[in-house]
């Protein structure tokens, strides 16, 4: 069970983190490092090569879907279930102010009803002047923004110019539309380019809206209520930051899917302020007392020690396979 349990848990991680993308078949040791994410290191270095690594084509490969279904069936037989995709039930928002953009996000990542990460970072880097907040499936937002960031950097090298927010928007919407909503990434894209500050909201099916203030995620209603009340065009930076902070706080305190801290990202021409955390809205409390009683609190009247006679009836040895 040793090897197969390693096998199973490694592939489990692949199922969760990569959602069927690339080939998740076990690779020889040399190429493992190129494949793992920074969050997950393989727990073994030597492994029998069962399949040969293939060159990756563009886009998703759905080869492993059948295998995943089989694994899920086997897991259910044993009684456990595969981990659910981690969603960021979230509050993210952005606002255009006089000199630029303020993006804000909460920091809670949930897996079903459980908080998987109390302090995750939802504001992703796209280019030096463009950042993107992501709501929806955590893996999808992470990977989508990374793919577009990489493509945008290559594009910027070929054009020789600082990338424009409209370009990032176009690339994101065309990719999400191509996958017909199966990539669950709802994004708030903001940045400052040669034409000024721009803010877009991008939905998983590929539609976009260009607006002066946007909110996304499960807490977006609460945040939007704050924006609709207090937004004014051409605000100062401090007002804009306070507005975004209040909007995210509204999401955090009124939506169960959002919580923990508030991250802010202020983008202006030539400068980016990534403030993480801007506000620790939910600090873990400190215990005020302890229920442990000191030895001697209860007086001891008598003490009697009786050794029990036990004999070994059966002894079995279960070997652990550590290869």
């Amino acid at each position: 069970m040793g090897l197969s349990s390693h096998f199973f848990s490694y592939e489990n991680h692949n199922v969760r983190l990569y959602k069927g993308s690339t080939n998740a078949a076990p690779l020889p040791a040399a190429s493992i490092t190129s494949f793992t994410s920074r969050k997950h290191k393989p727990s073994f270095n030597k492994m029998a090569t069962l399949t040969v690594s293939r060159p990756l084509f563009g886009g998703f490969s759905f080869e492993n879907c059948k295998r995943n279904a089989l694994l899920e069936g086997e897991a259910n037989k044993v009684g456990c279930s595969l981990p659910a995709a981690r969603k960021t039930g979230t509050t993210i928002c952005g606002v255009v102010f006089k000199d630029g953009i303020v993006l804000g996000a909460d920091t809670r990542a949930t897996e079903g009803m459980i908080v998987a990460d109390k302090n995750c970072s939802k504001i992703h880097y796209i280019s030096p002047n463009i950042y993107c907040c992501g709501a929806g499936t955590a893996a999808d937002t992470e990977m989508t923004t990374q793919i577009i960031s990489s493509n945008l950097e290559l594009h910027a090298l070929s054009t020789g110019r600082l990338p424009r927010v409209a370009t990032a928007n176009r690339m994101l919407k065309q990719m999400l539309f191509r996958y017909q909503g199966y990539i669950g990434a709802a994004l708030v894209l903001g940045g400052v380019d040669c034409n000024g500050p721009h803010l877009y909201s991008i939905y998983p099916h590929g539609s976009t809206d260009k607006l002066p203030y946007v909110t996304m995620g499960s807490g977006s209603l609460a945040a939007m209520a704050v924006f609709e009340d207090r937004y004014k065009p051409d605000m100062e930076e401090e007002d804009a930051k306070r507005l975004v902070r209040d909007a995210i706080a509204a999401g955090i305190f009124n939506d169960l899917g959002s919580g923990s801290n508030i991250d802010l990202c202020v983008i202006t021409k030539g400068k980016v302020d990534y403030i993480r955390p801007h506000d620790e809205a939910n600090k873990k409390g400190v215990r005020t007392g302890d229920y442990k009683y000191k030895r001697g609190t209860t007086g001891v009247l008598t003490k009697a020690v009786t050794p029990l006679a036990l004999e070994v009836v059966e002894e079995t040895v279960q070997t652990m396979d550590t290869s």
């Binding site: 969603k87 039930g89 949930t110 079903g112 009803m113 709501a135 929806g136 919407k173 065309q174 999400l176 539309f177 017909q180 909503g181 669950g184 709802a186 909201s201 939905y203 998983p204 099916h205 590929g206 539609s207 976009t208 809206d209 607006l211 995620g217 499960s218 977006s220 209603l221 939007m224 209520a225 609709e228 009340d229 939506d255 169960l256 899917g257």
Partner: protein, 275 residues
């Protein structure tokens, strides 16, 4: 909460096609339903042809389920200098199609070295909408002016049909004004008559269905010689309850040489009702 189903849902029911984005997150109470629903423009759009140009109008609401995602949407999308399309149905699908057709028409126009015909644009829309009819939910009105035939309106509904009509309405709110349009539209309308027709029509629409998902902004494009059109407000049923009752209208007035956009705010709209 909306008693009227969107055109999309009706079509989906008719075609027994599943609606996208349905209920991946239903089991998780923390993430509400509308975060995974597809963004749709439950809409009213209309286009009217008359001598010398066309007038087009649309509301400005985009919804995801029961939530208004964007209350200031611009559903009148320029495809070329004198050609516009009115979009209804899935926001993603219509934006994507419009982008593709804009590219194709721009390329074609450069090859021709002259402004493209409205019929060409309409055929490009039809080609995309028909080829991918199973995957798309897009109802589009193509309207514009060209030198050969003047003002024209082409209707490309869901499924990819193409037909030229002097006046056309579309979107989920259009069903409320078919009767009105049938009885009140006559060919050869003058400027003032057109004005009254559209204003009364949309107001009727508004009265007939107070929960019509059409709102704040009506965007009008007027591709002709100084014709002013006012589109009346539509009832607002705001999810957020931020007090913006009454609609907003965008008016556009274009001279013979171009396109002119205008926006009418709710309090500037003409009132046609006694109560």
């Amino acid at each position: 909460m909306r008693s009227g189903t969107t055109l999309r849902e009706k079509m989906a029911a008719a075609a027994m096609v599943p609606i996208f984005g349905q209920n991946v997150s239903d089991k998780y109470d923390l993430v509400p339903d509308w975060t995974s629903r597809e963004v749709s423009t439950g809409t009213t759009i209309m286009a009217v042809e008359y001598d010398g140009g066309v007038v087009i109008g649309a509301d400005s609401r985009t919804t995801t389920g029961a939530y208004i995602a964007n209350r200031v949407t611009d559903k009148l999308t320029p495809i070329h200098d004198r050609i516009f399309c009115c979009r209804s149905g899935s926001a993603a699908d219509t934006q994507a199609i419009a982008d593709v057709v804009t590219y194709q028409l721009g390329f074609h126009s450069i090859e021709l070295d002259e402004p493209p015909l409205v019929e060409t644009a309409a055929n490009l829309f039809k080609a995309s909408c028909y080829r991918y009819r199973e995957e798309l939910t897009a109802g589009i009105l193509v309207a514009g002016w060209d030198r050969r035939k003047g003002g024209q309106v082409y209707c490309v509904p869901i499924g990819g049909m193409l037909v030229r009509q002097p006046v056309s309405v579309g979107g989920s709110g259009s069903s409320y004004i078919y009767g009105f349009m049938d009885s009140n539209y006559k060919p050869g309308l003058s400027k003032d008559q057109c004005l009254e027709l559209t204003a009364a029509g949309t107001h009727c629409c508004c009265k007939a269905c107070w929960e019509l998902p059409s709102t704040v902004i009506h965007t009008l494009y007027h591709l002709s010689h100084s014709l002013y059109l006012s589109v009346s407000q539509l009832c607002l049923w705001r999810w957020r309850g931020d007090g913006s009752s009454g609609g907003v209208v965008r008016l556009a007035s274009i001279s013979e040489e171009g396109v002119e956009r205008r926006v009418l705010l709710g309090n500037q709209l003409p009132k046609f009702s006694t109560h």
